[in-house]
């Protein structure tokens, strides 16, 4: 027993001597500057959140719910995580058009928001949600480990959830200029049985949340790198 321990110790010392010259993994927090240089004193108005379904598709109830849920989610993120001063929503500020693209060509609309609400910036978006409820078989190629030949096999594929396509813009209210434009696509997987449940549609969408916050405030990304110790 003692002999084995000694052997192990000797091997460990030898290995240790070799390894000490190697590299080791370290964790780094990489800092990212925000897309917009805000100082936190600005007044921000959220809206309008428009529904723009894909070409050839009509507005459905899921779109209406998604637009409302997204506005709630956006307000929460901007207030809680970005700590911005949000101006309460005003019902009298209705957009003259239902297309974000057309609104962006109309600086007067954004100026009117500033006039009515004293906003410095306006965060607006257009949203399209698609309910994915697909299940079926697809043919997949694979190489057999036994004989190395290529075969085809059928694989069951299930894809259920909400697919989001969001265009978010930040407009300078004084001029109507678009300061930032962010196209975000994300997918919220949902159990088939819960596809009818439209509550908390944007909960746990980390990609979306991360990118939204990154527009307004600095953030850090944790990464791993190999570093030589000597």
């Amino acid at each position: 027993m003692r002999r084995k321990t000694t052997e192990l110790l000797v091997i460990l010392i030898a290995v240790g001597a070799v390894c000490s010259a190697g590299s080791r993994e370290v964790r780094i927090a990489l800092h990212l500057d925000p897309e917009l240089p805000l100082d936190g004193t600005e007044n921000v108005y959220v809206g309008p959140i428009l529904i723009e379904p894909r070409e050839g598709e009509n507005v459905q109830s899921v779109d209406l719910t998604a637009a409302r849920e997204f506005e709630t989610f956006l307000r929460k993120i901007l207030r809680r995580d970005a700590e911005l001063h949000l101006i309460p929503k005003r019902d009298d500020l209705q957009p003259p058009r239902n297309s974000l693209g057309a609104l962006l060509l109309d600086p007067e609309f954004w100026k009117s928001i500033r006039k009515e609400s004293a906003a410095d910036y306006v965060v607006a978006a257009s949203i399209d949600v698609k309910v994915l409820d697909r299940a079926g078989y697809t043919t997949e190629e694979y190489v057999s480990p036994q004989d190395g030949k290529t075969y085809f096999r059928q694989v069951m594929v299930e894809e259920t959830g909400f697919s989001y396509d969001i265009l978010l813009v930040v407009v300078e209210a004084e001029t109507g200029n678009v300061l930032h434009r962010e196209q975000i696509t994300d997918f919220q997987p949902k159990n088939e049985r819960k596809l009818e449940d439209y509550t908390d549609m944007f909960t746990d969408l980390y990609t979306l949340q991360n990118r939204l916050i990154g527009i307004f405030v600095p953030r850090a990304v944790q990464v791993k790198r190999a570093l030589y110790s000597d």
Binding site: R3, T6, E7, L9, V10, I11, I13, A14, A17, V18, S23, R24, V26, I28, A29, L30, H31, L32, E52, E55, S99, L100, G101, A102, L104, S126, L167, V178, R181, Q183, G214, V221, V223, K224, R225, A226, L227, Y228, S229, D230
Partner: protein, 141 residues
């Protein structure tokens, strides 16, 4: 009697290995005091990095690089420290410099791949240009 001899032999082999490593390192530094100082700087830099003092780490690694230039190991550490200090463009050049010297350095290659992934995702994501975005928006009208 036999196990005892074997044990002694093993200890001797191990001790020889360790001593050889120490002597070879000492011999390498003996004719080159800069290499010795660079090694010490690398150690200090590594310690600083482990504690999160990345500015100091960068300074140490850069000093090591000045003392013994063109060392892929040192350039790897410089690049990582540059990343940690937010000097992303400089890190890219340093990684490329290191890889041009030693394209087979695994740590350097892995770090460079990870860096590229990070850079593409966060610093310069494949963006929709204003013109393209504008056209898209107009097409949707």
């Amino acid at each position: 009697m036999k196990p005892l001899r074997k044990k002694k032999q093993l200890i001797e082999v191990g001790a020889t290995l360790v001593l050889a490593a120490i002597f070879s390192a000492s011999a390498a530094f003996a004719g080159n005091p800069d290499a010795k100082e660079a090694s010490a700087e690398m150690k200090w830099g590594f310690k600083a990095a482990r504690q999160g003092y990345w500015q100091e780490a960068l300074m140490r690694f850069e000093h090591a690089n000045q003392l013994t230039p063109n060392q892929p190991r040192i350039l790897n550490n410089v690049a990582v420290a540059q990343e940690a200090n937010g000097l992303y463009e400089m890190a890219l050049l340093t990684y490329q410099e290191g890889l041009s010297l030693d394209p087979n350095n695994n740590s350097l290659r892995r770090n460079y791949m990870r860096y590229q992934e990070f850079y593409a995702s966060y610093i310069a994501p494949p963006e929709i240009t204003d013109e393209e975005g504008g056209e898209d928006a107009q097409e949707n009208n």
